[in-house]
Amino acid sequence: MSLIEFFTSSVYRGPLIGSMFMCLTASIVGVFAFLQKRPLISETLSHASFPGVVLGVYVASFFLSPTDSKLSFFYLTFAFVFCLAALLLVSFMEKKIHVKSDTVLCYILSFFFAIGLLIASQMQFVEPYFYKKSLSFLYGQVATMTDTHIWIYGSLFVFTTIILSLFYYPIKAYLFDPLFFQGLNKSSRFIEGVISLLLLLAIVVGFSSVGVILLSGMLIAPCLAARQWTSKLNLIYIISGLIGVVSALFGVIGSTVISSYLNLSFPTGPLIVLTATFISFSSLLFAPEKGLFFRSFRMFIFRAKCIEENLLKGIWQYKISDIKQMKKQHQLSYVFLFFFLKHMEKSGWVYKQNRQILLTVDGEKKAKKIVRCHRLWELYLTDYLGIGVEKVHKSAEQIEHIITEDIERRLTAIMENPKHDPHQKPIPEKQV
């Protein structure tokens, strides 16, 4: 089956496009919960929607046939009501009873879920078909979705985006600087309400694709991944939404393929969430600037630079040109030492002669510059900041690698081009 067939065939179109809309909504709204630094509220709310779903299906079982697509209105409404109740209860308990936030979240989560299971277990013998239907929302079972569902979830998505774009700036101001927002004479309760409404909508929209158990992953993972790629808020929304869509695509197609391959109805939710969290993990590791690998790479480069500069300094200042002595002085293993020396030779700072390491003209300039920075900084610390002479060496050891040309020039200007450092050693002339 080709990819295009998933979008065109009337059997696969509903599940795929429907769950793409759902994941899109969830991952965009997840940004709020993430920026408010309480992403786990989505975990509680999604579990709290479960009794609503079950009750909705139960109530609908009195009026409707199991295959009626009006069924979704029932469970969506009931889920919304229960979510709202849970949200109000959480904020009531946090503010009025002063229970710790995570305890409240945990309590509400399991309490509401227990109610859901209670209603479901009652339904088990009375309405077995509806019971199965309600349990399928635990992990998301999108296979039964039709074109009607595309319209329902599509319009819910549009509704969410309209609210979001209407209140875009107030929400932004409120999230980043609540005090400033209050200073503008705006009602923060209103915006809190709008944010909560969006969160509830996202959860209600999302649970039928991912399922109530794993929905919080869909709200947390995409925006966490997006945050690694950019620091701009509007870009975070877009990237996060994209990741949501991609996860839905992979999840739905993957579960369809596995289902037909193994001949059982594989739940969609876990696969969608696996994709989203996988993207999130890889962003955390490999994103430029913020990812672990690039961060450690930059750190390594900086360390290497420090070691090389120290080596240069050692050769120029203490005339250490023997490799054995170098090893002793800098406490490096031979492997690293050879590596760094090779690199320095390539950069044209040192050359080998009779098993001795000697500086080139460039190398000498560089070494002088480092020593100059070191001694300038020592002088600055003692003369201008009044720090004891015996304490300044350590600080200068570190800062000599960081001082830029500009800072060096300013230091020179401030101290009127000094000739001697506090230890009465000559400061090398400025290197051109």
Binding site: F113, A114, Y139, I220, A221, V273, L274
Partner: protein
């Protein structure tokens, strides 16, 4: 054999229970003849008492949401240990395998959360949310693929208190004993490492060791409750008794007595209620869900009426 509790109302349940209790003490009833209700009562109350014991320290340590992550990861822990020991049957597993599974669980959750929080600079809550959804999804996918059973995920969150056997009593008893012994032996280290980690570090206690031990204990409790009450209801068993008792009590020693007691009473009450509802209204509620709901509603009731069990205990 016909269930002797069949057709009992709320009070008749207790009458039958006491009658059979006497019969058991006199020796007229062997362990093999336990009725389903009795097995449920024993298993659920042992689990509830253990959870309440652990829950006291757990809430004070602000570990509630970490426990949420832990209880979800249980599934992956079980799958992993199942893959390590091919011979085990998925439904009923030996104690050793469960211990190993709980270690895997605690290790996976704690390691990943700490790694993401500390090394990758992500806020703690987001780290927890990311880790457990990932591990739980992985657990479900693996379990479904290996057992070829799509209901495995549903069983994982629902538990199956209505299909408990005699072997479950043994496991629950073991869980109870382990928790009791741990609490008795390690009460002081736990206490100090919870309330004043700096002091206990200075006085030479291994704070991080006891934190890890506690994490392992939580994980073990979650995994042994897994079959009876599932991964989500167990959170209520951990948190609710503490919350209920905390309203009227601020001594940790008393909390460690009252919380399990509350939990036990709620289990007995809800089992009788479950039997009553079945007899009178013909409603078959899942027992574990009923216990969870009762625990939750009791706290709500306690908040609303401003009274609590402790004051009732004191009056009595």
């Amino acid at each position: 054999m016909l269930n002797p509790y069949r057709g009992n109302t709320f009070f008749e349940f207790f009458v039958t229970l006491f009658r059979r209790g006497f019969l058991f003490i006199k020796g007229g009833l062997s362990l093999d003849n336990l009725a389903t209700d009795e097995i449920q009562l024993i298993v659920l109350s042992l689990i509830a008492i253990s959870c309440a014991l652990v829950g006291v320290f757990l809430v004070i340590k602000k570990m509630a949401m970490l426990t949420n992550a832990l209880s979800h990861t249980v599934l992956l822990g079980i799958v992993c240990s199942y893959l390590l020991f091919q011979g085990a049957v998925f439904g009923q597993m030996g104690l050793l395998i469960l211990v190993i599974a709980s270690m895997i669980t605690a290790l996976l959750t704690a390691f990943f959360t700490q790694f993401i929080h500390k090394v990758l600079n992500v806020q703690q809550d987001a780290a927890i949310g990311l880790v457990f959804t990932f591990l739980f999804a992985l657990g479900i996918v693996l379990a479904t693929l290996f057992t070829r059973n799509v209901h495995i995920g549903i069983e994982a969150v629902m538990g199956n208190a209505d299909a408990l056997f005699y072997s479950d009593i043994k496991q629950a008893l073991c869980l109870f004993l382990v928790n009791l012994i741990f609490m008795l032996v390690f009460f002081r280290p736990y206490l100090f490492s919870t309330f004043d980690p700096l002091f206990s570090k200075n006085s030479g206690a291994f704070v991080s060791f006891f934190n890890a031990l506690f994490l392992l204990q939580v994980s073990f409790t979650a995994i042994l409750s897994f079959r009876a009450i599932g991964v989500i209801l167990v959170l209520g068993f951990f948190v609710s008794p503490f919350l209920i008792c905390r309203l009227g009590c601020d001594r940790i020693r008393k909390l460690l007595v009252y919380a399990p007691l509350t939990s036990f009473l709620v289990v007995v009450f809800s089992l009788a209620l479950s039997r009553h509802l079945l007899t009178v209204y013909n409603i078959a509620f899942s027992t574990s869900a009923l216990v969870g709901t009762c625990l939750g509603s009791l706290y709500l009731l306690a908040i609303v009426t401003k009274k609590n069990l402790i004051t009732l205990f004191k009056k009595a």
